[in-house]
């Protein structure tokens, strides 16, 4: 089965509130496919916030929500799924 075999395969999104992020990296290290990483730019608080990408180092986002549960600053605002 190829990764994008079915058009009805759900696609997951993580919405990051970059201004709340303190760059603690908890979500970065708990994410199994490594879909989150710190960016080089700064937010208003002076931190490097995290950024979400659907295609991670080791696969696509599965919507597991671990980043949402561990985030101490509610910066992982939303985890959602879209399906056709």
């Amino acid at each position: 089965m190829t990764p994008d075999a079915s058009p009805s395969r759900p696609r997951f999104h993580v919405v990051v509130d970059a201004e709340r992020c303190k760059g603690c990296e908890l979500c970065v290290v708990v994410c199994p496919p490594r879909n989150l990483c710190l960016v080089a730019s700064f937010n208003r608080g002076g931190y490097h916030p995290v950024e979400f990408r659907y295609h991670g180092e080791r696969g696509d986002c599965t919507g597991c929500g671990l980043c949402y549960w561990v985030c101490p600053d509610f910066a992982i605002a939303e985890v959602g799924r879209s399906s056709a």
Partner: protein
Amino acid sequence: MTAAAEVYAPTLGALSALTGKATHYCAGCEHGTLTRLIAKAIDELGIRERTVMVSSVGCSVLAHEYLNVDAVQAPHGRAPAVMAGIKRVRPDLVTFAVQGDGDAVSIGLLELLNAANRGEPITVFLVNNAIYGMTGGQMAPTTPSGMVTTTTPAGRDPVATGPPIDATKLVASFERPAYVKRVFLPIRPTPAARVYNARGALEGARSVRHAFEVQERGGFAFVEFVSTCSVNWKLGILDAKRYAAEALEPLFPAGLVRDRFGVEGR
């Protein structure tokens, strides 16, 4: 097959029990994680309108600014006594406190143990980071032997200061408490998988919910969350998680100690 419009639905999202204010917690602190776990449980149980938070003294002192519930500020360590008063006057309310180990195990141990002995229908969340975090990293009763703090620069000496206090064991020594549990909240390094294990946060979410359910059924609920304080341990955020797994977990093993109403099985 015709291309249908994409339907987007959040699986996890905004919580009505959170005010949206930015927290004052240091980066990577379990206090913030626990705040969201509590908000999630309040939302799921639909008890926001009748929940009263009793603020303790410590890093959790401002938690009422982040949780969209009514709040009372208790004197240092006296949160269980204030909660007991609230519940005796208004048994229909739900009340809880987030206490630190300096607040609950040091100055407020008397209130905590007497409330547990009476079996007051209240919920106490204890955040045990083995140190006084807000005041700058002094030795707490829960500090492991040998740990360097600002007041024990040569490491905690168990001969002079006694061994660390196990609050969960103390509360469980009484007959009345209905729900006593300890959760290891920080993410845990897993050498094989290269990914940190977040089971503590998921277990914490269930435990917070169970602790509220037990209170609704008239029991005393106590959940201790083993946590980190990277700033005052003078470690990096992820090094502090590793230290917690190595030094705190053997001392404060996670597990369910008592579940009188059987809420865990449901």
